[in-house]
Amino acid sequence: MAGVRALGSLSRLTTRRYTLFPGVTRRTFRVAACMMARTHVNYEIKGDVAVVRMNDPNARVNTLSVQMQREMTEVMDEIWGNNAVQSVVLISSKPGSFIAGADISMIQACKTAEEVTSLSQEGQKMFEKIEKSPKPIVAAINGSCLGGGLEFAIACQYRIATKSKKTVLGCPEVMLGLLPGAGGTQRLPKMVGIPSGFDMVLTGRSIRPDKAKKMGLVHQLVDTLGPGLKSPEERTIEYLEEVAVEAARGLAKKQILLTKEKGLMQKIQDYVMSYPFVRQQIYNTVQKKVMKQTKGLYPAPLKIIECVKAGLEQGPTAGYLAEAQNFGKLAMTSESTALIGLYHGQVTCKKNRFGTPEKEVKTLAILGAGLMGAGIAQVSVDKGIHTILKDTTVEGLSRGEQQVYKGLNDKTKKRSMTSFERDSFLSNLTGQLDYNGFNKADMIIEAVFEDLNIKHKVLKEVEAVIPPQCIFATNTSALPIKDIAAVSKRPEKVIGMHYFSPVDKMQLLEIITTDKTSKDTTASAVAVGLKQGKVIIVVGDGPGFYTTRCLAPMLAEAVRVLQEGVDPKKLDSLTTGFGFPVGAATLADEVGIDVAAHVAEDLGKAFGSRFGGGNVEVLKSMVDKGFKGRKSGKGCYIYQPGLKRRDVNPEALEILESYKLTPNAAVSSDSDIQYRLVSRFVNEAVLCLQEGILANPVEGDIGAVFGLGFPPCLGGPFRFVDSFGADKLVEKMRKFEEVFGNQFTPCQLLLDHAKDPSKKFHK
């Protein structure tokens, strides 16, 4: 029943399984249908069963494009008109995809809400015909069945799915700021019950086949096959078709009945749901949850609730109308544009723009078995990379190995991995205290303490034992790579790989190249990151690179706000209210106050007063008292194991009190505080683009959202400037500048955009 968790849902959006709405941007050119053979949909009649096969020749996955829809309509009309056919099987010829969703470019091409609404209504009509088909239709699902694909499938009379790992069912539209616009909000709650229905459409969560069977979303499951007389993929689809054809015959002959015996729990649930009062309670609860989690910043979930409610309370006509109209409205929102932009950006950042590396990394050695080192090891061993984890002490190594084990074992507990898989993945891990075997390593990632001298020592030690082609990657969040590389004998092999903590949960990897880093080294680092399942941005070298550099001024501002007497809880609610998934004070605790102090000091030195704001001494005093954030149990808040509720740390308040600043009423309203925090973040991001640290705005947006939790509904700092207006942002910054000085001076690129409104970061 969880509503949309902004960051959570986005992170789900990027799991590899979700190949929804792929980048099929080319529109199929229109040729009179009668003049051209069908290319996307064809059918074969097997006895009395018509087998309809979908295969988009231009893409890796099937989408409900204009062409696909038109050919499908033609084919279905022919089948309905053919008296020899008693039933129909609908199947995809593509191994990994049934239908991955609607063609997103179709929606993006629309100029008005009305246009989108009529698209939705066309879809609704088509699926209504499918639903009312006099000849039973069996959807035979192998691979992704998402969005419009799922709506198609649930309009069919019967569904059979393979147990393939690639088979997932879901409606991820909400993650793009949309809603299932072709009957999904109407049919799903009826099919799987109101609570599960809400869960599916509001979270966009993907459902695996076994769960789908339990929920009643599919009727029958088919196993995947191994090697036989054909390749496993090919034969599995054939087998699925054979089983589906049998089922279709059974349905036509009424040997298979669609009225299913309901379980006791189901009966009770249905009975309870028959009371309008109960339903009203559910709507309210769901609405409350959504509001709590989205702060009202995401319109899609609210519209979805509206549509489901309309259908259940006022009947299908009202329901379908509400669905189509709301779909149109949502498609025109800036939130949807932002989320779709992030989706496209994330697809881009899952590609290696540096080409294929000369040598694949098969053996990876990680130095330092701390949180980061062990996290990197965890995401490597389960991808089949032989990983050496080296630490200097037995205790440190043991802790690190335990972390890797626990990370994998938790997956076993959640049953996304078998204990056997866990064991065989763990066999890729070698824990050790010496440099044994480093002569066979293809890449080293060091994750030792953030101290230039230690990094130098490690680099020299390692370079003495590794082979010449081995890459040396350093996991640092702020130390410039060229400084680390200064002592290297082969600086072309040195690169920065900035992972985010916790490594197994955070999707971003920031790769930092110096002007000496070779292209092949970069290609190799990106390839490893992609293998580890990361979304990757490649940025230039400099203090704080991109992500840390953007975060630092915002945290400095947050400290100033705290010094001005704003309570940490209030600060958190202001930032989350703006759309950040984690409040600024909590974020500081999570990052670590000591790390924050360290970074603030380093970057302060590098960038001067522009990075000022709050007094660094505040952080230092906190560190002196042992308030290092969550890891030490105390920071801005007090953390007690087992307790979810946390109180503000009174001793931290005392420190703040001693550094108290008097707020200036002109720039201290809630909204002002929000913009003070955000504008410094955004300005620094734009400056990074201006200085060439960032290669393009897309990577800037992805880095900010996936690495730092910049509000996904705003789509990242660059999209925010586009939609908010550079001129308005500059205006606000000028106001702050008057009070605080150069920390709020807009950078040149931002000024250029403010002057010329036609300039946009995203086309």
Binding site: P227, L229, P232, R235
Partner: protein, 471 residues
């Protein structure tokens, strides 16, 4: 031969007895020569001892839960060992070593080989150990014996296998076991009571053993069904093959061909002397059954799978010199053998496909040289899938790294006295049955080479070439 002839010619006039002897000898000589002519070559290798199968026996294979229900595994093993002693007249102290296979272990007799040997009256000076390799456990026992002889460490070894599915170890849950073990260590009454108090209802749920892969948690029947589907084996083909197995087994039983079966007086019950799982049905009856594993569209049913069986088998393996020195007439040579293993998920039961070409190559034979095939029939679908895989160039090239297929055995040479589907399949006893059957069929049918192949849980497989002993 020529000198013999000369001698006899010189010693004329012949007595009638001598004449008869001469005649008999010359006939036998000519038979021998014929066999030699048919045999393109013998598989004996220079520098390697010839290892022979002297004889093999087995208890009747019974459906689990029938007449053997109240026994223990070593009782069955004892019966097989005693039967072997009786059949061969072997002095009990002439055996150097005993190797026995078992799959589901009775925890009380974890080295079932030793318990059975002692109980069967073998000398207590004869060491015995137990091996396990799923359905090819007794194959492993036999090849272990062959290894001991080839290495010159032993001259006469008894190998065998036993499986007793009427009673399998059902355990307490891990939580309960932990509590019970802690209870032993608890010193005070209070500590004991608090431990007892910690027992919850969930602790009482027992753990049942399953015929499932540990690595994939998939039951074997489920895997067999998927395998059949992968090779496009239909339900009809499977039912037909199962029916063939039962029909041939019935025929073999009725015509007394299953001479490896020994009678066994079960305490408190009658003497058992026949396998009781052979039940030729008809296609209509078999078609009525619902799939047992993959529902509703699977093809593997109770009728086309091997059933849970109790049984034990034993063979006497010796070096050729020793056998001849002890006056035995061996039944067959045990020649080259291989073990193979592959993906335990998707190729769990494809052992014969991988093992057959390998062992043939090792022996320098082709499929056409083989006169007798005995394959372990775990499921009709598994056999059909293996036959199709062996017949496929694509499979050989894509998955086995071979240039061409090995080819499928011709059905008229294949499991003609029934197989595991009909005779039964006591996991660890089947291997010896296969080898003994090959030896008997070679004798009966006058062939020279036989091939045994079997699949086993864990995605493993085995094959062995057997050569008829010159008659």
């Amino acid at each position: 031969m020529a000198s013999m002839l000369l001698t006899s010619l010189r010693c004329s006039p012949l007595t009638s007895v001598q004449a008869a002897q001469f005649a008999a000898r010359s006939i036998s000589t000519s038979v021998h020569l014929q066999a030699q002519a048919k045999s393109k070559k013998t598989l004996a290798k220079p520098g390697v001892k010839n290892i022979v199968l002297v004889d093999g026996v087995r208890t009747p294979f019974l459906l689990s839960g029938t007449t053997y229900a109240d026994l223990m595994p070593h009782d069955l093993a004892r019966a097989a060992l005693q039967g072997l002693l009786n059949r061969t007249g072997l002095p009990k102290d002439a055996v150097d070593y005993i190797v026995y296979g078992t799959v589901i272990q009775e925890v009380k007799t974890s080295n079932v080989a030793r318990e059975a040997a002692l109980g069967a009256g073998f000398s207590d000076k004869t060491p015995a150990h137990t091996v396990t390799m799923a359905c090819i456990s007794s194959n492993q026992a036999m090849t272990t014996a062959a290894g001991l002889i080839a290495a010159g460490q032993c001259d006469a070894v008894v190998a065998g296998g036993v499986e007793f599915m009427s009673d399998v170890p059902i355990r307490h849950s891990r939580k309960m076991r932990k509590t019970m073990l802690s209870l032993n260590k608890a010193k005070t009454l209070g500590a004991r009571l608090s431990l007892l108090g910690s027992i919850r209802l969930a602790h009482l749920a027992p753990e049942l053993p399953a015929v499932a892969e540990f690595s994939t948690a998939e039951t074997m029947g489920h895997s067999a069904d998927r395998l059949a589907a992968a090779f496009g084996v239909t339900r009809l083909e499977q039912d037909e093959f199962a029916l063939r197995s039962h029909t041939l087994a019935k025929k073999a039983q009725d015509s007394g061909l299953l001479s490896d079966v020994i009678g066994f007086k079960v305490p408190g019950k009658d003497i058992v002397s026949k396998d009781n799982g052979i039940r030729p049905s008809n296609m209509e009856q078999m078609a009525k059954l619902k799939p047992a594993f993959i529902k509703p569209h699977g093809t593997v049913t109770a009728a086309n799978s091997s059933f849970l069986t109790d049984g034990a088998s034993a063979v006497l393996i010796m070096s050729e010199e020793k056998a001849l020195a002890m006056g035995y007439k061996p039944k067959a040579y045990l020649r080259d053998f291989v073990y193979v293993s592959q993906d335990p998920k998707d190729q769990l039961l494809l052992g014969p496909t991988y093992a057959t070409p390998k062992v043939l190559e090792k022996s320098g034979l082709t499929l056409n040289d083989i006169d007798v095939f005995e394959f372990h029939e775990a499921f009709a679908g598994q056999i059909m899938a293996n036959l199709k895989a062996m017949e496929s160039d694509w499979f050989a090239q894509t998955y086995m790294g071979r240039k061409t297929k090995v080819g499928a055995p011709p059905m008229e040479k294949f499991n003609t006295w029934g197989g595991s589907l009909s005779l039964g399949h006591p996991f660890a006893a089947t291997g010896c049955r296969l080898v003994t059957t090959v030896a008997h069929r070679l004798q009966k049918e006058g062939g020279q080479y036989g091939l045994v192949a079997a699949c086993a849980a864990g995605g493993q497989g085995h094959a062995m070439v057997i050569e008829a002993y010159p008659q």
